[in-house]
């Protein structure tokens, strides 16, 4: 019986080539989207699950409010050891310290900048599953001058994996002995280090309970819940944090501290949730977002649904062709059940063929998808049992979904009516078909509107007045390696033609530069009422002009005033803390000695117009500039047409002054774009998938209009003979479809508006959704639909009517 079904199905497939190709192609495209997104989602969901003890590992988060709120993934260096010592439910702790995130390591005569570096406790190998190929995990990081490196790092520096006992030298001349070789950390991990240095390193000994700089992980004992440990945090704070805070802030109790609107809160965050659920800045690697996992999954499902609808619509529309077969089979004794089975197996056969094609499409498009989504997904992944089983079952599910309505519809024909041939089959099921077409187009239009909004928001971000000018600024990285010579380097570059201005400062309003947060007071005492948190950026006199920032009060730093070393320039947000009016001449205070609580004062000499130094998702917080030496980065404003010429000049200057240090630079506007990578990726992915959705929907529309045109061919002939114009006929044939697209537009508009408004809430600075976006999306959908439908309408209307009638 099954053989008979498949045989008929196959012949039907061959007989109606256009129909089969449209269906299979549509299904294949959408299945390929589905597989790609499934790979993406599975990867996103797999983060940090490879650690055998993953379920028991938590990271301590800190939420601190002192003037300004901060949500950090850090604790003090003391918190981890203290927790283990005081609370037996804590089996082990690990601290990871990433300092400024990079190190320069010697390879031969040159130094290479390595970003995947960290200092870690030796317990990292016990808590996390990071297998060592060589070396003893218990002792590998015990010695202060030891380092464990990954296989790739070993290959890179020694072209060998036999590296135990070798040494690595940093730019500072410190030598570290390689005591372990670890397997490369998988890409689905929230940290990926190639170099793990010992934590027992005197430079990183802070030893107090209030400097939050360490990623701290706790391994809880079997059976201990996170809540049990979180319940201990108050006790911990009272015993260890408050005594220090008392000294620094002049407060007597935690109540007093909290009554003044301050807050210090610790919580445990499961490591398996870090990648998708943590929205904290300063994570070790930029994370994903569960919201996008949901959005992409939904998009995949909808595209698949659009293709299934094509199948339903095409099958029922061409039912006239199948009706006779149904009638005959029924006359010959087929039960309805058998016919349903037959039609379902046809649908499944088609879905299976589409699946083969889809795997091929996935294979071909995976590199491009990886590029856009910034992933390293591999096609081999789909042959692993979990996904493979799913992919094998999927054609059956799709077949069932797409085939059940046509099967019920077709198998319901009465043989008496059908065989008589006077049943108007095309008309039957028409309403339902229309509903489905509306659904398809509504989905596509929502996707198009979504894409437009994402692109508009990105455009807005790129062109927004940021309060500084990021265009034509070259940022030279790692200038601190020049040491004392950094200012000389800056001055000599400034003399070159094409350089307008330049500044030395590690602090820039783009990512990949320094940040430093401090507590200040607007009065000469540190009280909870007067204190506030503020970014403290160290700059030089040329910084404000180079960045094109605007002073709204007072003046810039100047060499003419020797007192400027204790002066501060605030941004508008910081100035606002003093209330309305002029703040120039007022003072702010900061603790300069934690032992004695001694304060240093800074005189406000100017106020700079607010500029965006974090992403546009955030508000502009208080910030103060201070004069000093911060030589991490050198930024130069260029006014030359030939930037590459200028770059060559700067590089030559660099090479003459640095001894073998690599020259690396970036453009500030590109660094700025970095901050919106997620949105740009989202934009591209949304664009691709919405185009595919529209394409698949149009395949269906094309098929549908083919059958409608065929069905009405006799009518068209008669109308033509009676004098209808080609134009009139095209209108007549297209009208019905266009009506559906318009209804779809009406349905889609409020849904898209709501969804995109939700998305925009993530941005403090955002666009208003304009009716133009809807108009554009509607126009696009309508034009594409019109082009698709009118192909057949024109073809049918141009045909020789005599021929049409004869063929009846």
């Amino acid at each position: 019986m099954i053989k008979n079904y498949i045989k008929t199905a196959w012949r039907n497939l061959l007989k109606n080539k256009v129909y089969s190709i449209l269906n299979i192609l549509g299904l294949a495209i959408s299945l390929a989207c589905f597989i790609l997104i499934a790979l993406y989602v599975v990867d996103e969901l797999s983060y940090d699950r490879f650690h055998e003890k993953a379920e028991r590992i938590y990271r301590i988060n800190s939420d601190i409010t002192m003037g300004e709120s901060q949500s950090l993934p850090f604790t003090s260096d003391m918190m981890g050891p203290t927790m283990k010592q005081d609370y037996p439910q804590v089996e082990e702790f690990v601290r990871i310290y990433t300092s400024n995130g990079s190190k320069l390591l010697r390879k031969g005569n040159e130094f290479i900048q390595e970003n995947r570096v960290a200092h870690a406790d030796s317990t990292i190998f016990e808590v996390f599953t990071l297998p060592l190929i060589a070396g003893d995990p218990d002792t590998a990081l015990k010695d202060p001058r030891s380092v464990v490196i990954s296989e790739s790092a070993a290959q890179k520096y020694f072209s060998s994996v036999d590296v135990l006992g070798e040494t690595l030298e940093t730019i500072q001349g410190t030598e570290y002995k390689i005591t372990g070789l670890m397997q490369d950390i998988p890409s689905n991990s929230h940290f990926r280090f190639d170099f793990l240095f010992s934590m027992d390193n005197d430079i990183y000994r802070f030893g107090n309970h209030i400097s939050h700089n360490f990623h701290t992980y706790l391994l809880l004992r079997e059976g201990t819940t996170a809540q049990e440990i979180e319940a201990k945090f108050n006790d911990y704070m009272d015993r260890y944090v408050m005594p220090v805070a008392k000294q620094v802030l002049n407060i007597n109790s935690r109540k007093e501290f909290e009554d003044a609107g301050n807050k210090l809160e610790y919580s445990l965050f499961p490591i398996t949730r870090i990648h998708l659920y943590s929205d904290r800045v300063m994570e070790i690697r930029p994370g994903g977002d569960i919201q996008y996992v949901y959005i992409f999954s939904a998009v995949a499902l909808f595209i698949l649904l659009i293709a299934c609808i094509n199948f339903m619509n095409l099958s029922t529309a061409r039912s006239a062709g199948r009706a006779r077969e149904v009638g005959i089979r029924k006359v010959l004794g087929s039960a309805r059940k058998q016919l349903i089975q037959q039609f379902l197996s046809e649908a499944m056969l088609m879905a299976a063929l589409a699946m083969f094609l889809a795997v091929g499409i996935t294979y071909l498009s995976l590199p491009a998808f990886n590029e856009i989504a910034a992933k390293t997904l591999s096609i081999q992944r789909i042959f692993q049992p979990d996904i493979l089983v799913f992919l094998l079952v999927l054609p059956f599910l799709v077949g069932l979904l797409a085939g059940s309505y046509p099967a019920l519809f077709l198998s319901g024909f009465k043989p008496v009516q059908v065989l008589k041939g006077n049943l108007n089959l095309g008309a039957k099921g028409g309403t339902f078909r229309n509903v489905l077409v509306v659904f398809q187009f509504a989905t596509s239009i929502i996707l198009i509107i979504g894409t437009i909004v994402v692109y508009q928001q990105l455009d807005y971000i790129q062109n927004k007045n940021l309060g500084f000018n990021k265009e034509q600024v070259i940022v030279v990285n790692e200038t601190h390696v020049l040491g004392q010579q950094a200012p000389t380097f800056k001055n000599e570059v400034l003399e070159m033609t094409g350089i307008k201005n330049g500044t030395l400062s590690g602090y820039l309003p783009v990512s990949g530069s320094s940040r430093s947060d401090n507590t200040f007071s607007k009065e000469a005492v540190m009280s909870t009422e007067s204190s506030f948190g503020m970014q403290q950026w160290i700059i030089d006199e040329d910084y404000i002009p180079t960045m094109g920032m605007e002073l709204v009060q007072g003046r810039n730093f100047s060499k003419k005033f020797s007192t400027d070393s204790t002066a501060v320039i605030l941004n508008e947000s910081a100035a606002k803390i003093f209330g309305p009016g002029d703040v120039v001449g007022k003072k702010i205070y900061r603790v300069s000695n934690f032992e004695t609580g001694e304060l240093t004062s800074y005189e406000i000499i100017g106020v700079v117009k607010n500029f965006h130094f974090e992403t546009l998702r955030q508000n502009i917080g208080p910030l103060g500039f201070m004069l000093g030496n911060s030589t991490g980065l050198a930024s130069f404003k260029v006014n030359a047409a030939n930037i590459s010429q200028v770059l060559i000049g700067i590089e030559q200057k660099w090479e003459s002054m640095s001894t073998g240090m690599p020259f690396s630079y970036r453009f500030m506007d590109e660094a700025f774009d970095e901050m919106y990578r997620t949105e740009q990726r989202l934009g591209k992915i949304a664009l691709i998938f919405s185009l595919l959705a529209i394409l698949v929907a149009c395949l269906g529309l094309f098929g549908l209009s083919t059958f409608i045109a065929e069905k009405r061919i006799k009518e068209i002939g008669i109308r033509k003979i009676l004098g209808a114009s080609v134009n009139g006929l095209v209108q007549m044939l297209s009208k019905d479809f266009l009506k559906l697209v318009i209804i779809a537009f009406v349905v889609a508009t409020p849904l898209a508006w709501y969804a995109m408004n939700q998305w925009l809430q993530d941005f403090v600075y955002r666009i208003e959704i304009s009716w133009l976006y809807f108009a554009a999306a509607g126009f696009l959908a309508l034009s594409i639909a019109l082009a698709t439908v009118s192909y057949h309408a024109v073809k049918a209307a141009m045909m020789n009517p005599a021929k049409n009638l004869r063929s009846e």
Binding site: M1, N12, R324, I328, R329, V331, L332, G333, V416
Partner: protein, 225 residues
């Protein structure tokens, strides 16, 4: 074998109600060959559909092989049909996607005959109909007469007790028509009951008895020798 009594069938469209069968009664005995004649629209096809259990009457009784079948549901009718009744249509109604062999095989598949038995039985009947050499062809590759012979083969492959033929020669020229009529006669002589609708007095002469209808009613019955 068949007894119908006061059989009624109405068709309702928006405005009018057509009486297709109006209190029609007659009997057909096992082994008979009955021809039904009458002008176009008098209800012949409607009658045949009901006799073939494709359609349900609106009134009256229909006893098939001693069982009252009016009011049977679709599944029961299908079951009775596939074991007992073969159909031959004016327009052949072969499935274009299946070969001659596969078309004839279909009823056997639906009655659950095993593959090996199916093959022998299909070959047997194709042999008898003289179209064995065409068994792997598709319907479009055959002449009208050949297609109708395939249709007859398909109708008889299950050894039905009753064959219903609706204008079996309507689309054929006279020599092909005569061949089909000879086939039906042979089947009848082998014991199969046949009820045939026809417009042709010539074909009607092959039967034992002619029932003439007008406006859904029986007008005369002539028994032929």
């Amino acid at each position: 074998m068949i007894t119908i009594d006061n059989l009624e069938k109405f068709y309702r469209t928006e405005e009018v109600q057509t009486v297709a069968l109006n209190k029609l009664s007659f009997q057909v005995k096992e082994g008979e060959f009955v021809a039904i004649m009458g002008p176009s629209g008098c209800g012949k096809s409607t009658l045949l559909n009901i006799l073939g259990l494709l359609d349900d009457p609106d009134g009256g009784s229909f006893v098939f092989n001693g069982t009252e079948v009016s009011g049977f549901n679709e599944r029961k009718r299908a079951n009775l049909r596939k074991h007992n009744i073969g159909f031959v249509f004016q327009s052949f109604n072969l499935i274009d996607e299946l070969t001659v062999f596969e078309n004839v095989e279909l009823p056997l598949i639906y009655t659950g005959v095993k593959t090996a038995d199916r093959k022998t039985r299909v070959h047997e009947v194709l042999e008898k109909m003289g179209i064995m050499h065409r068994r792997n062809h598709f319907p479009q590759q055959l002449s009208g007469g050949q297609q109708q012979r395939v249709a007859v083969a398909r109708a008889v492959v299950n050894n039905p007790k009753l064959i219903l033929a609706d204008e079996p020669t309507g689309n054929l020229d006279s020599s092909n028509g005569n061949e089909v009529m000879d086939l039906l006669t042979e089947l009848n002589e082998a014991g199969t009951t046949i009820i045939m609708v026809t417009h042709s007095e010539h074909d009607a002469k092959y039967s034992h008895r002619i029932i003439r209808m007008l406006d859904g009613e029986k007008v005369t019955e002539n028994v032929l020798v």
